[in-house]
């Protein structure tokens, strides 16, 4: 069975140990985590986690079933039709062309987030495959540091 990439959203009780329950489940059972994001859902005592994982069909099925078994887990969605976005912050030296970098960031739904004495910070938010292209495109501007947020997704 071939490995597939899957985006899984998990609705959980917002309690202190819930992240370790989920990350521990992945580690203990040998499942992959490519990215993981978590934040509380406004006006509720729930949080939402988005995990990007890889595995064959049987593994993905086990992941969703094992997640369901955790007591503080309300809902597990293995996304099929979804909108997914990832954010990137990229820091460049000031000696690079500011307008080039601005144009690049704009092409990927972003712009310049901050300009300092000796650096520029660009920000983009786009689909994961486009983010990959953005990261390739930044290479010629010698980025000092790149921070990726991990994927968030919502079912269409």
């Amino acid at each position: 069975m071939a490995d597939v990439r899957r985006v899984i959203s998990i609705l959980v009780e917002n309690e202190s140990s819930v992240l370790s329950r989920i990350s521990g489940l992945f580690a203990g059972r040998g499942y992959n985590i490519e990215t993981l994001t978590v934040a509380p859902i406004p006006n509720s005592n729930h949080s939402r986690m988005t995990i990007v994982t890889k595995g064959n069909k049987r593994v993905i099925e086990q992941i969703t079933k094992q997640l369901h078994k955790l007591i503080p887990v309300y809902k597990v969605v293995e996304h099929d039709k979804m909108v997914e976005k990832e954010m990137v912050l990229a820091k460049f030296p000031i000696d690079k062309n500011l307008s080039d970098i601005q144009a690049l960031c704009q092409a990927y739904n972003g712009g310049i987030a901050n300009v300092g004495k000796d650096m520029i910070i660009g920000m983009v938010t786009d689909e994961p495959c486009r983010v990959k292209h953005f990261l390739e495109a930044t290479e010629r501007y010698n980025p000092i540091e790149i921070v990726c947020s991990g994927v968030v997704a919502i079912e269409r």
Binding site: E13, G24, R58, E61, Q62, K65, H68, K69, I71, P72
Partner: protein, 566 residues
Amino acid sequence: MKMNGARMVCEALIAEGVKTVFGYPGGAIMNVYDELYKQDRFEHILNRHEQASVHAADGYARATGEVGVAMVTSGPGFTNAVTGLATAYMDSIPLVVISGQVPLSLIGTDGFQEIDAVGISRPCTKHNYLVKDIKDLPRVLKEAFHIARTGRPGPVLIDIPKDITAEVGEFKYPDSVNIPSYKPTTKGNNRQIEKAIDAILKSKKPLLYIGGGVVLSNASDLVRKLAKIGGIPAVETLMARGVMGHNNPLLQGMLGMHGNYSSNMAMSETDLIIALGARFDDRVTGKLSEFAKYADIIHVDIDPANISKLVNVNYPIVADISIVLEKLINKLEDKIDSNRYSNWREVLNRYNEIHPLSYKDSDTTLKPQWIIERVGELLGKDAIITSDVGQHQMWTAQFYPFDRPRQWINSGGLGTMGYGFPSAIGAKKGCPDKTVINITGDGSILMNVQELVTASEYNIPVINIILNNHFLGMVRQWQSFFYEDRFSETDLSYQPNFKALAEACGGIGYDVTTKEEFDTALTDAIKKDRVAFINVAIDRFENVLPMVPAGGALYNMILSDNKESE
């Protein structure tokens, strides 16, 4: 009503109908022990090691079907309890374990006897709690018992900081539990059940594959009934011994690594597996690609994650087995003809005639299988049999005439040496009218031997039959088969005087080298009604057979010391 957290714990145990708590005090749990001292509604058994406390609670749970309760202190008290939690977790046994924790203000400071109990126990509990607010304590206690006993049962840990057990709060034990994210499926999908019925009616060689879930669901009578109305042959896993009853003509025996020939061949040739509360463990399936190649599979299990985990299932039914079996029996009763599978039954009977489960008895040395059969003849279905882990465990599973569920108590999933004696203590507390025998080995018994003191103090007359081959026998057997007789660290020739050891701790000891001596010792031990060690010198090199080598196909069994099946 206002009370401190410690009293709340005691009140909750009383409200849950707990009769016996197994435990060991220490600094962080002292508040609870102080309240425990002031009440007389439940009894506390002081084991001499926290691991034994949890195993005893586990044995109590398995023998009675109720939730077992253990209590330990923080730090080493808790870490000693981890093996007990993991043992219960792997076999889905309902436990509530209460551990003390350092005060909230000290958590995270590497305080004296501080350890992250919730972090350590996360992978070996069904759920766990760290109580940080006295207001949560009544709800947490109620939820813990509910989670432990519902759905797929399992151990639940409640870790309570010392300042929480001291703090005074309002106590009202909740009448009901409301956990929106925890609603086990119990009824089963009717369309899948209909499809399963069609599959059974079309099948030519169906086979009931019975697992420990049947015991947990108290569904043995229904399984026997289904087998009977359909004339459907059955195999049991290690955890399900006793479900069908050893005299049941439909029972082939135990399957798996040390299963008998007809059971393993039945699994290899069946065209329809009806799996009930079994989880296709590697010790059962052998090589997966060769496992039950000709079979469609109906799988009834309360845990959806068990279905299609290792083997693809055609008819998945997530449900409590009892509920599904009632539906199956209702619908099949008029439709199924118990003669339909008579050819299949004859095939299996013939397999059993060709290669029955057997051993070669001897006049000069005692054979472990004879001892087990003899205990069976003398005590039969009245006794509760526990075991440790190793050769003696497999021989007991093979040769004891188990006749009812909850008669056979052993650590199947985790394989915990040292489980047998404390779990026997728990079983005896739960079922005081039954004779409780721990069949153990000279390796395993030493892993919780301190329980001699516990059993003596409370006069819990558990009889330990030590099948003594002066070896770590199962590992020695593998070394003989697969490591060219290099007996690396398995020779246990240096050992205590077991008879004297038992006597030193207030029990009775017997050294046995002949059949007559064994009969005399067992009869005397039962009569004296005290904790006993019967140290039986057995054939040093006896092997557990048949055997499917790890990773091999189920139909490729080593049948005797010099014969393999084709």
